[in-house]
Each structure stands twice: as structure tokens, then as C-alpha cells.
Symmetry: C2
Subunit: 248 residues, 2 copies
Amino acid sequence: MEPEKPHKIKGMNYSEFQKVIQYYRKSNAKEAISENRKDIRVKKEKTVTKNLQRIFESTLKIGNKKGFQAMSMRDLSEETGLSMGALYAYFTSKENLLVMLQRNGRDSFQKILEDCIEEESAPLDNLRNLIKTHLFMSEAMQPWFYFTYMEGKNLKKPERKVAVDHEMHSDGIIIKLLTQGEEEGVFKSGNHALTTALIKSMLNDWYLKRWKYAKMKVSVDDYAEQVISFVESFCLIPEDAEIIQAEG
Amino acid sequence: MEPEKPHKIKGMNYSEFQKVIQYYRKSNAKEAISENRKDIRVKKEKTVTKNLQRIFESTLKIGNKKGFQAMSMRDLSEETGLSMGALYAYFTSKENLLVMLQRNGRDSFQKILEDCIEEESAPLDNLRNLIKTHLFMSEAMQPWFYFTYMEGKNLKKPERKVAVDHEMHSDGIIIKLLTQGEEEGVFKSGNHALTTALIKSMLNDWYLKRWKYAKMKVSVDDYAEQVISFVESFCLIPEDAEIIQAEG
DNA sequence: GTCTATACACAGATAGAC
DNA sequence: GTCTATCTGTGTATAGAC
């Protein structure tokens, strides 16, 4: 019944990835509830799952159109079909809803990024794999990624720190790959943190500027390929570098 | 008295650029006023210049901290030192203020991007130059760039279209350079629109994730250099490409 | 668990004195 | 030109019936 945890994302294209993502979606939804159980007045598990999902989806929909601050609880009530009173059985305040929603995707995103690294694989393979996974995830959950990026600054200090820590953690994964690759003699040396930041900016653009990529009819698979070759051309030491240098 | 229009941005570092930017700042402020003259009730030119600048700066400051929607006119009144009544002598509504502020920087930004291209120069030089100019501008006017990016979706349809058109226009400048370079045999062929989008994402990240670059102690000059070499490694045809191919 | 009705704080905006 | 005082709508949040 339960979808299995996928061990090989490598080599997949997006449509194959979509089937696999279900595993993370499910474990994610359950976590989100248990983590916020104390703020939820409703007892029946099944009702919570159903309605909370509805609330999250509606918040993302309205929030991404006009911003979270501009979304009123009356807007949300209309979109979800739940009354104002009912809504407040699922969170204690509007701000609490924002925090729940942001927390929701983050943990499972971090987990999948870690899972896609295989210790025994070459750094280049892992890097390719991570780029694809990042893009595929943000494609599958675009509204959440966009929302989290844009509304991040509305979090209060402690929650904002959590967000920043997560970002630095995922940066760290890439930095480690670049360093490892340098040691193995396949990647150039350089400021790996800076290179990582540039790679991240390209990964983020996929969900931030979706309208642009839709307009130029670029698919996630196309985009992933382009980013990978961009990164490779900068990071890889050309295979015949020594030969050329020896000749010159 | 008037600062001269700069003809050579090329080869400058950021501290040299800062002196030059004054020219654009001034012409920009005047344009912003004349363009919105009908919405401003105050007659005296000098008062308008002084207070409007104050209003813009304060809006950017508060808006970038908690979002434009969340900024109340009372917040703005406190920050500017002007009363609510006085504020409304400079714009007709909160939304009108948003539009004015966004319009304000856009025209001069577009102009400077166009000015930095020299028809007689090589595409590669122009591309380098444009990357530097883009980064230096966003460094000098970081609050405006950040604000415009984050609040763009709060614009109503017609104004949003203007924003998108400007973005596509500046994309077009880069696409043209890449195409020209391909024709001259220095740049690789490929999906130039997509490459341009990736370059843009790196340019935007400089003002979007400023905290990150501050933390890693990277200066604009460092960043520009890194972006340029990233782009070059992907776009340039290696000088000895033919030789290698002939040998292999 | 969900509803309707309502409290009451605060938003954007303006009138009219100075 | 700028102020203070105030109008009116809307916001978040809750109380209490069903």
C-alpha cells in the first residue's frame, strides 16, 4: 500500500519523478499535522488531514496571487468553503497559519535533498542528481516554493532563523560536493560558496519566473539540462587541459 | 554643475561607478516628478523634490522590512515626519504611491542598460560591460530593486504588463548580444533566450540574497567577476577548439 | 465540528482649521 | 503646505447556538 522510498532518482526525467514524489508527499502531510497538533482544536484525524490540506492549498492560491498579508480570512473562508469560525479550529492565528505552512514543506524538502546524494557516487553524478531533484521538487510543488520564497521576510525572528538555517544547510550540501570534486581532481578550485550561491539562483529562478519559462516553452527537463551544462562548463576541469598546457 | 553623461562604464570598478551614477539619479528624480505631476497637489518644485524623495526612501525602508501591504500610512507618516494629511498631497492613494515608486527607477534603469552597449564594441566586451552595469546599479539602488521584485505581483494588470515588458526588453538586449556573438563565431550556438534567463537569475540574486553575500564577505566586484567567468565558460567557444577537433 | 453574529482595533482616506 | 480630528470600511478573532 505505502509507496516505497525511492533509492534511485538518478537518470529519471520529470514524468518518472512525479510518481516517486508521492512517497514524500504522504510522509510530509502526516508530519505537518503531528508537529502542529497542539494548535489544532479538531480531534478527528481524517477531518484534519482533509481540511488542513484544503486550507494550505487555498492559502497558497490566494497568497501567491496577492500576497499573504493582503489575503483576508474572509478570502480564505470563501476559497476553502469553511466558515471563519471553522478555520480558527485549525490554527490559532493568521501568523500561526503562515508558520505551519512554511514548516510544512521544508523538512521533507531537506530530507529529499539529502536522500538524493549517494556517498559511493562520483561528485559530478551527485551534483547532476541534486540539480535535477531540486528542480523536479520545485516543479511538483511550485506554489509552495514560490510562497515560501516571497513570504519569508514576513516571518518573525525565530522562524526566520529556521528558514535561513535550512537554506545554508542545503547550500552546504553543494559546497561539500564541489570540495570533494576538487580533491578528486575533477572540479576546478575556487570560491565554492560563491559558486553554490550562483547555482542556487538558477535553481530558484525556475519557480520564481515560471511565466517566463512557460512563454519560451521550456520544460523542466530542458531547464535541468541547461543548468547542468552551465555548471559543468564552469566547474569541470577540461579533460585535455594537461595536454594543451603541455603543448603550449 | 550638472554631472556629465558617462560614455565609458567599461573597465570601471564599483567605487568609480558610484561617482558616475549621480547623473542618472538626478535625471531620474526629475522624470519621476514630471511624469506624475497631475497626481501631486503641491505646487512648489523644491518642496516636491525634497519630500517625495523622503517618501520614497521611507516606503522602501518600511516596505522591504515588512512588505508594502503591511505598511500602514501611519507607519509612513511616522517614518517621514509628515502627517497623514500632508502625505496625501503627494499621491492620490496608497496604490498610486506604489505605481509611482515602481515607475520611478525603471525608466532610468532601462536607459542606463541601453547606454552601456557600444555598437562598435565586440559582443563579449558589451556582455561583460552589461553584467557589471547591472550589478553596480542594483548595488547602488538595492532597496528599490528588492522592493520592485518583491512587490511586482501587487500591481494591477496594466502596470504589471509594463513591468513585464521592461523585463523582456532588457532580456532582449542580452539575447541580441549572444546572437551577434554567435554570428561572429565567438559564442556557441544554443537557446539564447534560456541562457539569458539564467544570466538574469544570477544578476538578480545579488540584490535578492544580499544577506548571504554579506555573510560570505563577497563584494560586488568579486561577484561581477565570478558571474562573468561563469558566463564566459559557458558561452565562449574555446580558442583552440578547432585545433583539438582537427587533432582528434 | 461547523455555523452565524458580533466585538473592537485599525486600515485608508478626507475635511477644514491654521 | 501641513496639521488635527474624524469618517467609514475592513481586518482578525471569538462567543455561543446548533
